[in-house]
Amino acid sequence: MNELVKQQWLIPFLPLVAAAVQSLLPRKARKLSAGICLTAMGASCVLALRAFVGTLGHHEAERAVWNFVWFDYGTTRLQLGFILDPMTAAMALMVTFVGFWIFVNATGYMSDDENFTRFFCFLSLFAAAMLGLVVANNLLMLFMCWELVGLCSYLLIGFWYFKPSAATAMKKAFITTRIGDVGFFLGILMLSWQAGTLNLYDGGNGALEQAGKLAGLHGWFGWSMATTIAVLLFIGAMGKSAQFPLHVWLPDAMEGPTPVSALIHAATMVAAGVFMVGRMFALFTAGGSAEHPTFAMDMVLWVGCFTALFSATIAVGQFDIKRALAYSTCSQLGFMMMALGAGGLVPGQFHLLTHAFFKALLFLGSGCVIIGTHHEQDMRKMGGLRKYMPITFWCYLIGMLALAGVPPFAGFFSKDEVLLVTFQRSKVAWGLATFAAFLTAFYMTRQMFMVFAGKWRGGHHEPHEVRWNMWLPIAVLSVFAIGLGFFGGKYEHYLGVHEEELHGKSLVMGLSVAVGAAGILLGWLMYGRKTMAHAEEPDPLEVKLGALFTCLNRKWYVDEFYDATIIRATMLLGEFWRVFDNRVIDGILHGIAWTAWGVSQVVRWVGDEFVINGGFDAGCEGVRLTGREFAKLQTGRIQGYLRILCLGAVILLVIWYLK
């Protein structure tokens, strides 16, 4: 276990090297770039597997840590470190495995793009950053990788930078996540200040190991120190995992290529927030217990629950296939956060894993659909793809069922666990969650029928099935979407977190199945029975709900709200200060300059004109005249001079004599 942790740094390092090499490759070295990227990902996947197997052997949660010094300052030193424990191993394995298959799909998806090499370079950079985040034992290193992941999402969203919408989307994504990161940063500062170190586990005096002590201290707003730090960290998580206030960037992130959406906005990056909360779980729960949990836990619970419901409602009203999936991701993340907030570390993490697989499956599926329909993204212009793209259809179906929570599939087990835990915590949250689950089932079936059922509503040329490198990954993922569910129980044991027995298990399970079935039934009723005839036909739901539907479609006008308030405010502030600088400060300066100039003029006019010039010139004139007079004396006659000389001598002698 200990020597394994020493190789942990290799996992993120390989993709990093690959990214560096690829960045130097010329544009036309397409095959080589893809090759390097895939081999690197494969290698780190093998390493992750080795690490995972390493952790399997031990029965209770074994943890190995390896810290190294980054640099010294003052009298202390700043350390970074790597960790190997069940959660990391699982996560790393999931990221590498899913990532690998997404890369395979990407080779197909991006085959006709001229910036192919640069795309794969960014992908491997992203992989490196994500893996770095996962294996980090130090909060600072985690934060650094966190920001790098944000950078990669920025670069990948804006991959097709010539599209203005992509340009604004990439900027928006980065800035929103950055706002979250500020919270995270403050949390780190607080932690480093209070705990003295940023290492999570450092043989006893790591930050998490001091959670108890931190709980005792006083933080902001009356919370304990641990809670304040947890809240700050959760803000970062909200930004990254697109929780309610900072979720606006996720739908716009769909501007990027679909594999990107799959990798970043489904499986890995957005999950980072949840993973981070899971990693810092000790901090969140410090100071509180199951009965009266800390404020942080409550916050996580309610934010998660609300996000789940909120985005589920929006997902229902979306026409773009990717946006619908984006909102579903949002709501699923809400579920995970809710689970964690309710105290269920294992359900949250398990749901994270399963969701990664089937959401990646769904996104890749939508990618195949888009390629198949020659870059058509609007569901209203699709339809009847079952005939044209059978493989994609079946894989997509498995993904949909898993997501909807139909029993045999992975989704059911993980979601059930989540609902169970929420049930324990608070009935209200559980109720909302089950309604959100119902909505999930509904919009997924809506999507299935709009896309695959009915007849082709798109343009003139028929859709076609995608090549092998596109459908193979979704096939593999669909297998996992099915199989993974069964490992639920063992995961709990694997993580070494022993949950006490939960009551009301059968009620919750039954209700969730019922709700899932009801959603599917309603979806079939609305969309399955009478599929839309042509693209322009209004959405049946729209007919039903009318104004509410448009409101859903427009994402509850959150973007517009933000634009109107925050963004305009900052722009105005900027304008104010720019004008302030130009007018006020420069005004003062110019004022001083003008007064100085004025004074100089006065002095010049008064002082020079009269006093000096007048007096001086007169003096000069006088001197010149007397000079002319004396000149006459110089007659040129030598004797004249001699006479004057003698006259002088005589006078002198007389004077001397008289004295």
Binding site: K632, Q634, T635, G636, R637, I638, Q639
Partner: protein, 103 residues
């Protein structure tokens, strides 16, 4: 041998004034130079007189006179040369005509 010093000094002074008077009144440049020579000799006479009466052993007075004579000779030589060259230019040695350096 007992001529008092005063007589010699007066003699020197008178001679000097005669020379001065000549220098002032004569129109001819060479005459002026001659009167200057007289003034020079009056001065040198004084040197020797002072040496003779106050010398208590030191020969400085004579040395001075000797050098003064040498200088006077050099001076007159150059003066005359100048007069000759001026004469060639002005065709006359009348002092009043040499007014070129008028102020």
């Amino acid at each position: 041998m007992s001529v008092p010093l005063g007589y010699y000094l007066m003699l020197g002074g008178v001679l000097f004034c005669i020379g001065l008077c000549g220098a002032l009144t004569r129109k001819n440049a060479i005459a002026v130079l001659m009167s200057i020579e007289i003034m020079f000799n009056a001065a040198i006479l004084n040197f020797v007189v002072f040496w003779y009466y106050l010398h208590n052993g030191a020969l400085t007075g004579q040395m001075f006179a000797l050098f003064a004579i040498a200088v006077a000779a050099a001076e007159s030589a150059v003066g005359l040369a100048l007069v000759i060259s001026v004469y060639r230019h002005y065709r006359s040695v009348d002092v009043d005509e040499m007014k070129a350096l008028k102020g």
